[in-house]
């Protein structure tokens, strides 16, 4: 660390207003070369706004942006890039129609003679970057076929290509697997050693404290505090972010079983999510939260998708509340069987962003509650308000478009859609991804409330801690199959991880390496 060197990034009195919202107000930030500055704050605090302003994606309403001493205020992403800014944005920004390699070199191809593509060097460089990050995506794979995690890795590769002076990582680890996370930390340290200025944004406070030199806390668009990382503790950070001490959520936790009955709400037999995968047999009782733990890409979402009628399983039988039902072929059919899903991609699968939140909450119920198919708005608003109250969504949000809600509120709306349904089976996929600490607690309490009212909840999350803490029972998923049922005894995270990585001595576990996703399997062998 060289405190004498001139700052790599300097934001002076930057403000950015959106209609109705001041997302950033009088924000000052100086980042020196060779340091890591973390930005933390709850959802909507303005962290990504800092990134967008710095990277030239948006023009600040007031204030100046300097990169390496040059003024780049509002001159667009190309200018910022020339000044050495490399960004991994929070939203996924891959071009689906292009290959992985093209995506990495998007806007920064390696050229021969200044005009022709130097394919060989790009391929070599791609391989280097991939090895560095421990990423195994073939260079010619279409980005369309990538999982979220893989796409995220590509974006990190893109940011690492070329000569970065400033590297901005906006929630880079929100959806990448553990192994890659560790590699990323190493790379961050390595880059720091080389004098790159790094801005790091994450909701994982342990990670933040681990990686960064300085931590700045934002709240409501204003920088509340900035201190060296050693000056912070996790509780202090949370207090600063929220402006108060968080209320303890209603703690469920594995093993504490207030209302669990012995009535199975969901029984799944001989389910194969794809022709190659192993059979799944499991059941969920009323009143319990079952956590599906798995690594990224292990097939948890696929299992939920089969149950919710999003994709046909290749085999299996299903009983809901003791009744044998035909396997649902559509979400509408699943809902009739009593199975509802809060999907993982809330922006595309969860909400109609152009509609007001109230309409979103009312979407599943309006048909059944309407008389002669004619809507009563007052009734609808009433229904929406009661759902909103149950999930802790402020009622002022009801009139806003879903588009304009923060991530946490959007997630509450996704849960709220189904809350009044009283469905016996409630599937919840990654409800806390990218959601701040406070909202997470509220979401956990909503899930527990659901279970308490007699629903069977299946809960998927990539945060192992979270699964362990908030489920009554944990199932380990690997390659599209349940490799271990831990029952009502809490596994420690080491045992769980071992099961997830397939180092488990369980007899029935570990189907062949590449049996889950046929398209991937083909790709592997065809090279």
């Amino acid at each position: 660390m060289n405190a004498e060197s001139s700052p790599a990034v300097r934001l002076r009195a930057v403000s950015r207003a959106y209609p109705g919202v001041v997302a950033l107000r009088d924000f000052n930030l100086t980042v020196l070369p060779g340091t890591v500055t973390a930005l933390v704050g709850e959802n909507g605090a303005g962290k990504s706004t800092v990134v967008r302003v710095l990277s030239g994606a948006e023009r600040p309403s007031h204030g100046t942006v300097e990169v390496g001493g040059q003024d780049t205020t509002g001159q667009g992403p190309a200018r910022a890039r020339r000044a050495g800014v490399r960004v991994v944005h929070q939203e996924l920004l891959t071009v689906p129609a292009m290959t992985a390699l093209d995506n990495v070199f998007l806007g920064q191809p390696i050229l021969r003679f200044g005009t022709l593509f130097d394919t060989r060097r790009m391929q070599r460089r791609y391989a280097e970057l991939a090895a560095m990050l421990d990423v195994r995506i073939p260079a010619n794979k279409s980005a369309r076929a990538l999982s979220v995690a893989e796409a995220q890795s590509l974006e990190i590769m893109r940011a690492l290509q070329g000569k970065a002076k400033v590297l901005v990582l906006d929630e880079p680890t929100a959806s990448i697997p553990l192994g890659e996370r560790r590699r990323l930390y190493e790379i961050v340290r390595e880059l720091k050693r080389r004098g790159v200025a790094i801005i790091y944004i994450s909701h994982d406070l342990d990670e933040v404290l681990d990686v960064s030199d300085t931590v700045a806390v934002l709240r409501g668009g204003v920088k509340i505090d900035e201190k060296p990382a050693d000056g912070w503790t996790k509780p202090a950070l949370i207090r600063a972010m929220l402006g108060r001490t968080p209320q303890a959520g209603i703690k469920g936790g594995a093993g504490q079983l207030p209302l669990r009955s012995n009535e199975p709400a969901l029984e799944v037999q001989r389910l194969r999510v794809s022709p190659q995968s192993a059979e799944l047999n499991f059941s969920v009782q009323r009143g319990e939260i079952v956590g599906l733990a798995g690594l990224v890409g292990s097939g948890r979402s696929t299992i939920l998708a089969c149950l919710a009628g999003l994709r046909g399983p290749s085999a299996g039988t299903l009983r809901v509340s003791g009744q044998a039902v035909r396997w649902p072929g559509s979400p509408a059919a699943a809902r009739r069987c009593g199975i509802v899903l809060a999907p993982e991609d809330r922006k595309h699968q969860g909400l109609v962003l152009s509609l007001p939140t109230a309409d979103n909450l009312d979407l599943p119920t309006m048909r059944t509650s309407s008389r002669f198919f004619i809507r009563s708005d007052r009734e609808a608003l009433k229904r929406a308000a009661s759902s909103a109250a149950q999930v802790g969504l402020p009622s002022i949000m009801l009139r806003r478009r879903a588009l304009n809600l923060s991530g946490g509120n959007q997630q509450k709306a996704v849960l709220g859609k189904w809350i009044s349904e009283g469905a016996p089976v409630f599937l919840v996929d990654e409800p806390t991804r990218g959601v701040d600490v406070g909202a997470k607690q509220e979401i956990y309490s909503v899930l527990r409330k659901l279970a308490d009212t007699g629903a069977a909840v299946i809960f998927v999350s990539s945060e192992l801690e979270e699964v362990l803490e908030h489920s009554d029972r944990v199932l380990a998923v690997r390659n599209g199959a349940i490799v271990r049922d831990f029952g009502y005894s809490v596994p420690d995270s080491h045992t769980l991880l071992a099961a997830l990585f397939g180092q488990d001595p369980e007899p029935e576990a570990s189907p062949a390496e590449n049996e889950i996703a046929p398209s991937r399997a083909n790709e592997r062998t065809s090279k």
């Binding site: 109705g20 668009g221 402006g243 699968q349 109609v352 309409d359 002022i396 304009n404 509120n409 406070g438």
Partner: protein, 374 residues
């Protein structure tokens, strides 16, 4: 946590801001309505004959086929779709109606139903191509349009079919209560369309599908059925319009209505309905129709060259949609949302600044974070 610290310095400015936003919002949101009003006032001042009943009825009669098709086209566009095949269906229905009007076996109302049914079938095919085969709506309907018009040409050999059963001309020429039947059909479509869109479950589902197909599907909506239904309705309307024009001309002409599909879409777009789906309203289509009809009439009344009409139509189209886009960028997004929640309560619908209530505000009172900010 002191609840008294109201953000005093902000209040006056925010009221001002709200007001100015309000008037700008009206200007942007109702820009086309304003244009229509200006046009109506201007033309009726310049030409006293404009506001006569006979002129207005004639105008309505003249635009009836396009307008009748514009009503379900509004649904198609709001549901995120597009239909270029209505021109072909229109021509085919025109021929079919005239053909049924030569034999004498069919009554004219049965013939109308047959035309509507044929339109529905074509619409269904469009819908299936688009939702099941996943063909882009533009391409699918361009294709079926070619096919249907081609079949109409083949069936007639391109030669007009002259209707002989005289009762078949009633549909296009008779009046009920002084208003021609096609105008009644047009008014009925508009009213029913507006009601369906704004007051029924189906209408709201159309908005939902257009605004986010995947989310709607996961909410249990039958998105394929919904989208297909809009194309079927567009087909029915094209069938009815084709029958009307055949009846008015007492001739079935397979070459009729070349380019009428673009006219229909122009009407919808001139109202400021975005092609991206999920937004819009029937009154907007009606306003678009009004602007184009009055403009055309003005050109006729004032004996201006009809060539300028094309120029002006183009300008109106661009202005309408630019106004809409500009409005959205100015953050009036919430106000243009097609929801009764918002439009019926425009007073308080404005978003309060600061989406900060994200914080776990379990208490209903003012959000604590607000205070420490200002």
């Amino acid at each position: 946590m002191t609840p008294q610290t109201a953000p005093a310095p902000n209040e006056p400015r925010s009221i001002l801001a709200r007001l100015s936003t309000g008037s700008r919002s009206v200007g942007l949101r109702y820009g086309m309505v304003l244009l229509l009003a200006i046009l109506v006032v201007g033309v009726s001042t310049a030409e006293s004959s404009f506001l006569t009943q006979s002129n207005l009825l004639n105008l309505a009669l003249q635009w009836a086929p396009v307008a009748i098709m514009a009503v379900p086209m509004t649904l198609v566009v709001i549901a995120g779709g597009f239909d270029l095949s209505v021109g072909g269906t229109y021509a085919a229905a025109c021929v079919l109606y005239a053909y049924l009007g030569t034999g004498g076996h069919w009554g004219s109302s049965e013939a109308l139903l047959v035309c509507a049914a044929m339109g529905a079938v074509i619409g269904l095919i469009n819908g299936l191509l688009i939702t099941v085969l996943d063909v882009n709506p533009f391409v699918a309907t361009l294709g079926t349009g070619y096919i249907v018009r081609g079949l109409a040409l083949v069936a007639t050999g391109g030669i007009p079919v002259i209707m002989t059963t005289t009762s078949f001309t009633n549909l296009g020429s008779d009046s009920v209560g002084g208003v021609p039947i096609p105008v009644w059909i047009l008014l009925a479509s508009l009213v029913v369309g507006a009601f369906v869109l704004s007051r029924t479950v189906y209408g709201k589902q159309i908005y939902a599908v257009g605004g986010g197909e995947e989310a709607s599907r996961l909410s249990g909506l039958k998105t394929r059925t919904l989208r297909t239904s809009t194309y079927a309705l567009a087909g029915v309307a094209a069938g009815v319009s084709g029958a009307i024009i055949a009846s008015r001309l007492s001739t079935g002409d397979s070459t009729i209505g070349a380019g009428i599909e673009l006219q229909v879409i122009t009407v919808v777009l001139a109202g400021g309905i975005a092609l991206s789906g999920g937004e819009g309203a029937m009154w907007r289509a009606a306003v678009g129709l009004g602007v184009l009809a009055v403009l055309g009439n003005a050109f006729d009344l004032m004996q201006l060259s009809t060539f300028w009409q094309s120029v002006v139509t183009g300008a109106v189209l661009i202005a309408a949609i630019a106004l809409d886009r500009f409005g959205k960028r100015q953050g009036l997004a919430d106000q243009t949302t097609p929801t009764m929640f918002i439009s019926t309560s425009s007073g308080d619908g404005f978003t309060a600044p600061g989406d900060r209530s994200t914080a776990p505000s379990s208490n209903e009172g003012p959000n604590p974070t607000d205070k420490e900010l200002v």
